[in-house]
């Protein structure tokens, strides 16, 4: 018994290190940016199931640009553009053509898996990963993405709460009819929200490929869906969404540590940890925020 307690204490103490904090930050960034982007899109009333696609295209584009130019800044900018491009397609289908938003999102995600593989093949002659690039690697505090993520978090919070676009986004996700009656373009506001949100999510993708110095097929591995869960748990409010993402990042880092420390638990079970946490949070945080009333409804 005492042994077990001592082991837990030792484990927790081992977590309180700089490298652990760095790991948390590194893991959190893609969740955070995808979820913030998702929160903005959803506040405008569009279900954002395409976060996975935005991460993946962002990751691919960042890797491709870093490979060709060697510029991290251009790679990040490219990732934002790639995310926004996915958003533009999403907007075209969901807003202009009135397609089902969930189907649109899932279709984009599936297309992203296939298309990035195809592009790998065409551009680099191999289907599963890009050549090595000079990315960011394991750096955390000197990584521009770390600080950019922080800035974008602030931007998302301020944008929703305190800007003209934010007010319009909040209105249009709640009562599109009343928003139109106030002389605000419903489609225009939604398009702006999707483009901004998707660009932010795309930057999250850059973090995926730049920290491992290369693109690996399907490297988003479901993070887009987890980010969407974080949007819901955070009650569609950027500050809370950011906190939830930090929680996910920490849980995943603990899980990684537990695996390497060898807890004796089956690794499959340990890997479930972040998702169990998600479920617990989902149950306890439910009711804190309300979904935008017009979420998922056309027009």
């Amino acid at each position: 018994m005492m042994d077990a307690v001592a082991a837990v204490v030792a484990f927790v103490a081992a977590l309180a290190t700089v490298t652990f904090v760095e790991m948390v930050v590194r893991i959190t960034v893609p969740y955070l940016l995808a979820a913030l982007g998702g929160a903005i899109t959803e506040r405008a009333g569009l279900v954002d199931l395409a976060l996975e696609a935005k991460l993946l295209f962002g990751a691919f584009t960042a890797a491709a640009i870093a490979h060709d130019t060697g510029s991290i800044a251009l790679a990040i900018a490219g990732a934002a553009v790639a995310g926004a491009a996915v958003g533009a397609v999403q907007a075209l289908w969901a807003i202009r053509l009135g397609a089902d938003q969930i189907v649109t999102g899932v279709a984009l995600n599936l297309a992203a898996y296939g298309l990035t593989r195809y592009l790998l093949q065409v551009m680099y002659g191999q289907g599963s990963n890009s050549p090595r690039i000079d990315g960011i690697g394991a750096k955390v505090w000197s990584s521009p993405l770390t600080w950019l993520a922080l800035v974008l978090t602030a931007v998302a919070i301020v944008m929703i709460a305190r800007t003209r676009l934010g007010l319009r986004v909040r209105a249009v996700g709640e009562r599109p009819d009343a928003t139109a009656a106030a002389g605000v373009s419903v489609a225009g506001t939604r398009l702006a929200a999707v483009l901004v949100g998707s660009a932010i999510a795309g930057v999250g993708g850059a973090q995926l490929s730049l920290v491992v110095n290369g693109f690996v097929a399907e490297m988003s591995s479901g993070r887009g869906y987890v980010a969407l869960a974080a949007v819901i748990m955070g009650g569609w409010r950027p500050a809370w969404v950011a906190l939830v993402c930090l929680g996910f990042g920490a849980a995943e880092a603990v899980q990684v540590r537990m695996q390497s420390a060898g807890t004796g638990l089956p690794p499959e079970l340990v890997r479930l940890l972040p998702y169990l946490l998600a479920l617990v949070l989902l149950a306890t945080l439910r009711g804190r925020g309300r979904a935008p009333a017009a979420l998922g409804r056309g027009a």
Binding site: V158, L167, R175, A182, G183
Partner: protein, 515 residues
């Protein structure tokens, strides 16, 4: 005199004509009324002017020629047009200041200048002698308070043409007079005012000219001073229906069906304490009354004095903080909505969009709501029976168009209201009716029909509670009328006292707390 508005427009929704070359001409500096039956096309016509609905064909000039194909809300606003809509157009999750700013946000250093928005709104309210809290969340206000806020916001913006689509439906008598006086003043300042109303005495009092629509066509353009009967005749294209008398008095020993004892309900607008000033009074305190079988009891009062809390507590939508509610002698204080309905309680909701209808569902499905027991066949729904019920309900109150497969959203405002009444009163075995503003926004003929149905329900032995801001309605229906003021009953008139000449003055004084 120059024209503020000249238009002709045609509009089809699906295969139905809403407007057939309807014409409207409004002179600058005048108050112009647009009247017509429910579904005549009044809202559609004015939404075209405001740019919210696009006409199929026609011409439009608001001071200058407008391109109808390109006309939109922003363009209309730029020309100085403002519109108060028949159904609230506030975003419930935003504050009043944010709602007021939406579409023309004051910005300072790239950020929203909410302080300026707050100040602008407070100033606009002060100019109209209204008190409102710019930081209140719109959704926490009663529909009446929301409408007052909308009027304040729109009046502050409209410079050339102010359109009000049934703005008085939610106001108390004194407030109506103030609004009408305000409209005259605005017109006097040179801004044209277009007013849609079903209350013809109001129209006669304030309007310089009247345009009458029937079935999407302009059928008459009348000048000031035309008799109300004349206007009514033009509206229906024949003789308007007579108004009925209250149902016969129930026997004195009739059983008490609905009993409310010491009922207290927390303020639904979220303010915990009593706020000074008329208007929001902070929930319901210690209210007791009873309604016997066959009796019609009215609750009068200025919107926001506890009516909403009373209705929602009686029908089970909000919990009672204290007190007891019994239905047919059975304690229902903590019963669910479903249990109360099963016990025979019918509810005509004040807010038909929020509590009354599922707008995107069909008319037939709306008729069936809460009446599943009548259409269930084992685990499935008897669709033919649904259709029969729906057709009967539509015919009963003459809902137009009488098409059960239409979405409820596609009905005009008054026809939506008729649909709610038809459903609730058409249910089997109704023992008690709570009707909140049952004829809000319906035309004269429909009003008479709805009143008939309420009287018939009473005559058949139901206890009927009518909450209304319209004293005429209460006089026409009720055996007794109580006044709610600041969450308590300020007084009650019955029998001869209710028929006396000074009844209106007495009730009016109680309503504003002056007695």
């Amino acid at each position: 005199m120059s024209a503020a508005l000249v238009m002709r427009a045609s509009k089809r929704f699906g295969d139905r004509d809403a407007l057939v070359d309807a014409r409207l001409e409004v002179a600058a500096g005048t108050v112009h009324a647009v009247v017509g039956e429910n579904g005549a096309g009044k809202s559609t016509l004015l939404k075209i002017v405001y740019g919210l609905v696009r006409a199929d064909r026609g011409q439009l000039a608001i001071g200058q020629r407008c391109d109808l194909a390109r006309h939109g809300v922003a363009a209309a606003q730029a020309l100085g047009v403002g519109m108060v809509h028949q159904h609230g157009m506030l975003v419930p999750t935003l504050t009043l200041a944010e709602n007021a700013a939406l579409g023309h946000e004051p910005v300072r250093r790239g950020l929203l200048d909410l302080a300026a928005a707050r100040r602008d709104l407070a100033r606009a309210a002060a100019r109209l002698e209204q008190s409102l809290d710019p930081d209140a969340c719109a959704g926490a206000l009663s529909v009446g308070e929301q409408q007052r806020a909308e009027i304040v916001m729109v009046v502050a913006r409209a410079q050339k043409l102010l359109i009000l689509d049934e703005p008085t439906a939610l106001l108390a008598p004194g407030e109506v007079d103030r609004l009408l006086a305000l409209l005259r003043r605005i017109a006097g300042d040179g801004c044209a005012v277009v007013l849609v109303s079903h209350k013809l005495d109001e129209v006669a009092e304030v309007a310089d000219a009247i345009t009458v629509l029937r079935a999407g066509r302009t059928v008459a353009e009348l000048a000031r001073g035309v008799a109300t009967r004349e206007v009514a005749r033009a509206m229906v294209g024949g003789e308007p229906p007579p108004t009925g008398a209250p149902p016969p008095l129930p026997p004195a020993d009739a059983a008490v069906v609905l009993m409310v004892r010491g009922l207290a309900v927390h303020d639904l607008s979220g303010a915990a304490t009593l706020r000074p000033g008329a208007g929001s009074a902070g929930g319901l305190r210690q209210v007791s009354f009873e309604v016997r079988a066959g009796e019609v009891v009215g609750i009068a009062g200025v919107e926001g004095n506890g009516q909403r809390e009373l209705v929602q507590a009686v029908v089970g939508l909000v919990p009672a903080a204290a007190g007891r509610i019994t239905l047919g002698g059975v304690d229902m204080t903590h019963a669910t909505v479903a249990a109360r309905r099963a016990a025979g309680l019918a509810h005509v909701a004040e807010d038909r969009h929020h509590h009354g209808l599922v707008l995107d569902a069909t008319v037939a499905d709306n008729v069936m709501l809460g009446r599943l027991d009548e259409v269930a066949r084992g685990l499935t729904i008897d669709r033919t029976r649904v259709r029969t019920l729906a057709e009967r309900a539509l015919a009963d109150l003459d809902v137009r168009p009488a098409d059960p497969s239409l979405a409820a959203r596609a009905l005009s405002g008054g026809n939506q209201q008729k649909l709610v009444v038809a459903r609730e009163l058409g249910r089997a075995a109704v023992r008690a009716v709570v009707a909140a503003q049952p004829t809000r926004g319906v035309d004269l003929a429909a009003q008479a029909r709805i009143h008939d149905r309420l009287r018939a329900a009473a005559a058949a032995g139901a206890a009927v509670l009518v909450i209304s801001a319209d004293l005429d309605e209460l006089f026409a229906l009720c055996h007794r009328v109580a006044v709610l003021h600041r969450g308590a009953i300020a007084g009650e008139l019955a029998g001869d006292a209710l028929r006396a000449a000074d009844a209106r003055a007495t009730l009016g004084a109680w309503m504003v707390g002056a007695a």
